[in-house]
């Protein structure tokens, strides 16, 4: 089976976000594989181990993402591809990423493509579905279970806490939700093997794309941090008075009723 995983390098979940000159500062920040993409990588490895084939992890970004690709290889993926758009694209968006990925994937005869449900940074959840649309293959998002029998696929999908069971067929793109599996840690032998596995680097040129083809469809107007949380207020006195005060504060100060 020819399996591809779409991976994104993101901020570590524990990083404090600092905004500098209207942009999120990356200085000194630790980066990780987007946690939802880790589920996708783990699932891809499990599907390969069961059905045979090869797992290729693909990312769109700059050369810093090589580290996360190597980690995916250390987990057990077979090949990695970095599509480096740093020199060609200044402000990409989900359209940019999806277009680049679809262009790369269109002649790869992928049976199964896995991605994370969302990236924990931008959180748009768009790239997976967009790639499937561009490739003209079915997709199922937020999956928590995947069963493949020949070309038939049974998927359990998380719908805001409920489950939806969907039957579909390969080729297919799915996006992984928490609960799909327990991603493995890269083992030390895995880490030692990772550097010997192939990591291919491509640029837009190699995909016969130029910057206009992938120009962002959206524009970011402003980035700002949420307002600082104020200290809470503890009301005092008679319960009946407290209730009155609470209602009036909700009305006049919080303006929620």
């Amino acid at each position: 089976m020819n399996i591809f995983v779409l991976m994104k390098r993101t901020f570590d979940t524990e990083e404090k976000i600092v905004i500098q000159n209207g942009k999120v500062s990356e200085e000194g920040a630790e980066f990780i594989i987007n946690p939802y993409d880790e589920y996708a990588i783990e699932e891809a490895i499990q599907v390969r181990d069961k059905h045979g084939g090869e797992v290729t992890v693909v990312t769109v970004g700059n050369e810093d993402a090589e580290k996360e690709l190597r980690t995916a290889l250390a987990m057990g993926a077979d090949k990695a591809v970095l599509i480096n758009i740093e020199d060609d694209v200044e402000d990409g968006d989900q359209y940019t990423t999806a277009k680049v990925l679809a262009e790369y994937l269109k002649d790869k005869e992928a049976d199964l493509i896995l991605a994370g449900n969302v990236a924990i940074d931008g959180g748009s959840g768009q790239v997976g579905p967009r790639v499937a649309e561009l490739l003209g293959i079915p997709y199922v998002t937020t999956i928590t279970k995947l069963e493949i029998d020949g070309t038939n696929v049974k998927v359990v999908r998380d719908v805001e806490g409920d489950e939806e069971i969907i039957e579909t067929s390969l080729p297919l793109l799915v996006t992984a939700q928490q609960g799909l599996n327990e991603p493995r840690y890269p083992s030390l032998p895995g880490i030692m093997k990772a550097k010997k596995k192939p990591l291919e680097e491509l640029e837009l040129d190699d995909l016969d794309l130029d910057e206009d083809d992938v120009e962002a469809k959206t524009k970011t107007i402003e980035i700002f941090l949420p307002p600082k949380k104020e200290a809470g207020k503890i009301l005092q006195g008679d319960i009946a008075d407290q209730v009155k005060e609470l209602v009036s504060l909700l009305h006049t100060e919080a303006k929620v009723i």
Binding site: I32, Y185, P186, L188, I191
Partner: protein
């Protein structure tokens, strides 16, 4: 000097850090109640962490010494207990066989130790032989195709849990001091190997430290490690490795104390602002952070010398001396910053304090480190 980690080292650091936070941290409470972290060791074994520096041909990961130090450092940030179990298992439980064993001994024991199927321990210290290890009194008398051992050992880390013990005994009672000492590989179920009482330690709860005695214990002659009389050399050969390991463990504790202190000081509001903004506390944090940085440089410098096979006995002692003091100082300051909360078991800093103290004692006391350093000046 270059403190830049290689790609593999960096990948491993992240993996170990994540593993420690996700797998070890939830187990800390059970260790504090005295439970040996067997499930954690099994998981570490699956990841290859029980044989980091062991060559691939003997079933290890074949990584360099610095990688091993990274692992001890990151693990000890979460649990000094797991740190010491791994350190003892690797540096003195496995390495002596790898360095001094016959090919047969290596094939028989090292792959099992490297894969974590076996846990290793090391028996040198005796009631009357601590810093002065060469004064040990345990005897090993050759009788035909085996040796008969009699004597007792104390403070044996991993004792009662280990599958193999490297035991030091006097094969030639005529010779005093370091001469006449030999090393043996002893398997756990050997008749005459008596696991004595568990030491009731101040800290490192969950790591087992026991007294051992040997009563007419028969050890096959083929389990003699190295040659007769080579024991003291074998014991001393891994000192640097052991000391840098404990220095890394100390660094982990020191850094954990610092990180918890910073987080607490930024949250805790007194006199209308976080205590981290009160200069009295801010300056404490500045000193703690500076000492952590200095300890880190000493530890990784010593590790890099060792990785390159260069002499590092002075640097290893300096790293251990300074890092263990930093662990102790930072733990004390962290408790002070936490105030009354720091004195309770609801917060981790009192554990750091209890775990840090032993770093100034085992693998050579701070006084012994100063002796080693001063002799090389």
């Amino acid at each position: 000097m270059n403190l830049h980690f290689t790609e593999e080292q960096e990948m491993m650091r992240k993996m170990v850090r994540e593993f420690a936070e996700n797998e070890i941290a939830p187990f800390v409470e059970r260790m504090e109640r005295g439970e040996f972290p067997r499930p954690i060791i099994e998981k570490m074994a699956e990841l290859g962490l029980m044989g980091i520096t062991i060559p691939e041909q003997y079933g290890g990961a074949g990584m360099d010494f610095t990688s091993y130090i990274i692992a001890i450092h990151e693990i000890s940030k979460v649990s000094a207990t797991v740190g010491v179990i791994l350190s003892v298992h690797t540096s003195v439980g496995t390495n002596p066989i790898l360095y001094f064993g016959t090919e047969e001994q290596k094939k028989k024991y090292v792959p099992k130790l490297a894969s974590g199927e076996y846990l290793g321990a090391f028996c040198l210290t005796e009631p009357g032989a601590g810093s002065d290890a060469a004064s040990l009194k345990t005897t090993a008398i050759r009788r035909g195709d085996h040796y008969v051992l009699n004597g007792s050992k104390v403070f044996i880390t991993n004792g009662g849990e280990a599958d193999t013990y490297i035991v030091f005994a006097r094969t030639n009672p005529e010779e005093k001091g370091s001469k006449g000492i030999s090393a043996f590989i002893v398997e756990k179920n050997t008749p005459g190997l008596i696991i004595g009482k568990d030491e009731k330690k101040m800290g490192l709860h969950g790591s087992r430290t026991v007294q051992l005695s040997f009563e007419e214990m028969k050890v096959p002659a083929e389990n003699l490690l190295g040659e007769e009389g080579q024991g003291f050399k074998i014991a001393m050969a891994n000192l640097d490795v052991g000391r840098i390991g404990i220095a890394a463990q100390s660094l982990g504790i020191a850094e954990a104390a610092l990180e918890h202190a910073i987080a607490y000081a930024k949250e805790r509001i007194q006199f209308g602002k976080p205590i981290a903004e009160q200069q009295g506390i801010a300056f404490k944090l500045a000193d703690m952070a500076t000492n952590v940085e200095a300890a880190k440089l000493l530890v990784y410098h010593a590790a890099s010398l060792r990785s390159r096979g260069l002499p590092c006995s002075k640097e290893a002692s300096m790293a251990k001396l300074f890092a263990s003091k930093t662990a102790m100082d930072n733990a004390i300051e962290a408790i002070q910053i936490f105030g009354g909360n720091g004195y309770t078991k609801d917060y981790p800093v009192e554990r750091f304090f209890r775990d840090a103290k032993v770093c100034e004692i085992y693998e050579g006391t701070s006084e012994i480190q100063r002796l080693v350093i001063s002799k090389q000046l």
